[in-house]
């Protein structure tokens, strides 16, 4: 699985309240959530984001609430992958569970610039910045996590028996 797109870049500690302001959480409709994605730090995001674009953030991306609405808003906006130096743990788990590809890579997070054309190969963990002509290598996800993301999330993966049964024994 690969992502290939244009980079939209943010800084450190991008929190769930700016990814999707809590005042909009009276809805769980993904399209409605996506229409307010990043609104409080970047009012232009919704207008300029294209399907396949890649977000590059800094440290502790997705800190704050447990709201799954945050990765859902990003995914529904058309973002193909989020690259960051590190992710907050609940966001990390939620992104996998809803099938939003994410990858941790401190070097890429620092060096890649806004507007760069980037390709990410999830099997090898290779990140290629075509604009800057640089390549970075991140730790790829193990196969079972990739299966969850490819299935579109944990529930779909369970439905397709892609991961072990979670039933009580």
């Amino acid at each position: 699985m690969k992502a290939h797109g244009t980079v939209i870049k943010y800084g450190n500690n991008v929190d769930t309240d700016v990814i999707i302001p809590a005042r909009y959480l009276n809805s769980s409709d993904p399209k409605e959530l996506a229409s307010h994605c990043m609104e409080d730090i970047d009012a232009t995001f919704v207008k300029r984001v294209k399907a396949g674009d890649i977000i590059v953030g800094g440290r502790n991306f997705g800190c704050g609430s447990s709201h799954e609405h945050a990765p859902l808003a990003i995914k529904t906006s058309g973002i193909a992958c989020v690259v960051a130096e590190s992710f907050a743990r609940i966001f990390y788990r939620n992104a996998i569970n809803i099938g939003l590809p994410i990858i941790e890579c401190p070097e890429a997070s620092k060096a890649i610039a806004e507007g760069d054309e980037v390709e990410i190969d999830f099997d090898s963990g290779k990140i290629i910045d075509f604009t800057a002509k640089k390549t970075y290598t991140a730790q790829p996800f193990p196969q079972f996590i990739q299966s969850i993301i490819e299935a579109g999330g944990l529930i779909n993966a369970i439905g397709k028996n892609l991961i072990g049964s979670r039933e009580r024994s």
Partner: protein, 420 residues
């Protein structure tokens, strides 16, 4: 391998004698929590699993607290959706308007969490119950759905940071000041993926409520959980609130920690986190002149009776500054009633405060006190991110109930010592 307190509880819930940091485990959970924002998404996911019941109707808790009493039609629809699900699934611990409270104050009060439990909740502040020596952590809605369906969830066993608390804090220094001090020291990702274990002789000086406040904000340092060992105060609290038997675990004396911090509580001062991150802390002596428009005293962090008692002590016979709105939100119905019986609510109303029914309300910019552009609030809540309490250009200063009450009287960030 010696284990931390958190690791001991995880091992006991996956049927293993030993677990170690980094290990992936599938563990049994004792309680699964959701609220009116996260449960609707979880119910959608749950319905895709084709289950006609939850794993145990006594071990799921659904609390309508964030936008309840319903702030608008959409919020009403979300609560209705959860209410119908709870009815259909025979969920025993469903709490609606009239009996609900802010979830993390309500669950301990209802005796639903005891020492040794493993609790997951689709709310990041689920880490609160570590104050009762439970392993509890926030998850998303999909995890909540899977846990509701199976009673199990996978975890990566965390490593831990150890905080050795020493000595007795000064009069106006509470759990809020201690945890803000710690977050200021280690940063908002200082405990990322890790447990925060609080220990040392200073712990015995802290009330269970101060410990609830501290464990509540472990997530603000990125922590997976925050936890205290059970002592006499913990066990007395559990005995008063629950019929369930606590299980006491202790960290091995030679357990490995990624870092150990010693904190002399007697040296701490009332502490405030400036916008827009909980790590931007300053002591009250260094805040300068910060005029405020609103004060909020409440939330899962500081909406307990003890918090209201402190605020009432400071506000008694005083008036809120002209031009400042002070909103007090007791965290549960029981706290509301006790605050009324003790006369705190009269003190608040005489001082010019508005007293609200329990709700998360303004903490996450929902309702009951939203800020306009350029406005500033001192709040006893837990987050001060951009736009958290309203307009993206408003500001939230996090503080203790004592600092919030004093600030409301003087109309600017202030120490309780300034109004004594």
């Amino acid at each position: 391998m010696p284990m931390t307190l958190s690791q001991k509880i995880l091992a006991a819930h996956c049927g293993m004698d030993k677990v170690e940091a980094g290990q992936l485990i599938l563990a049994d959970v004792d309680l699964v929590l959701g609220n009116d924002i996260t449960a609707p998404v979880a119910i959608n996911e749950f319905s895709k699993l084709n289950k006609n019941c939850v794993f145990d109707c006594d071990k799921v808790a659904l609390v309508m607290d964030h936008f309840a009493p319903n702030k608008d039609i959409k919020a009403a629809e979300q609560c209705k959706y959860v209410r119908e699900f709870a009815g259909k699934m025979n969920v025993k611990n469903y709490f609606d308007v009239g009996e609900m409270g802010v979830e993390h104050a309500l669950l301990p009060e209802k005796g639903l969490v005891v020492a040794g439990d493993l609790v997951v909740g689709a709310d990041s502040h689920t880490c609160t119950y570590g104050a009762l020596s439970a392993f509890s952590t926030g998850v998303g809605s999909t995890d909540m759905a899977c846990a509701m369906a199976t009673g199990k969830l996978w975890f990566k066993v965390p490593s831990a940071l150890k905080f050795v608390l020493k000595n007795k804090p000064a009069k106006w220094v509470s759990g809020k000041d201690i945890i803000l001090h710690i977050i200021g020291k280690i940063g908002v990702d200082g405990a990322l993926y890790k447990s925060m274990e609080f220990t040392g002789d200073g712990v015995s000086q802290l009330s269970v409520y101060s410990r609830l406040t501290m464990a509540n904000m472990a997530i603000e340092a990125g922590g997976k959980n925050g936890i205290f060992e059970a002592d006499d105060k913990t066990l007395a609290y559990i005995k008063e609130h629950s019929n369930r038997k606590p299980v006491i675990y202790k960290a091995d004396p030679d357990a490995a920690y990624d870092a150990v911090y010693e904190i002399d509580l007697s040296k701490l001062r009332p502490t405030v986190a400036f916008p827009h991150l909980p790590e931007n802390t300053r002591t009250i002596d260094d805040v300068g002149e910060v005029k405020i428009d609103q004060t909020v005293i409440g939330s899962c962090t500081n909406g307990q009776l003890e918090d209201l008692a402190v605020a009432a002590e400071i506000l008694k016979g005083k008036k809120i500054a002209k031009g400042v709105r002070c909103i007090v939100i007791p965290a549960t119905q029981r706290i509301w009633l006790e605050a009324m019986e003790k006369g705190y609510l009269k003190t608040f109303i005489d001082a010019g405060c508005a007293v609200s029914t329990p709700t998360c309300g303004p903490c996450l910019g929902g309702h009951m006190g939203i800020l306009a552009k350029g406005e500033r609030a001192v709040a006893t809540t837990n987050r001060n991110f951009v736009g958290r309490m309203g307009h993206p250009e408003s500001e939230v200063y996090l503080a203790s109930p004592a600092v919030a009450a004093a600030s409301a009287i003087l109309g600017k960030l202030a120490s309780p010592e300034a109004v004594e």
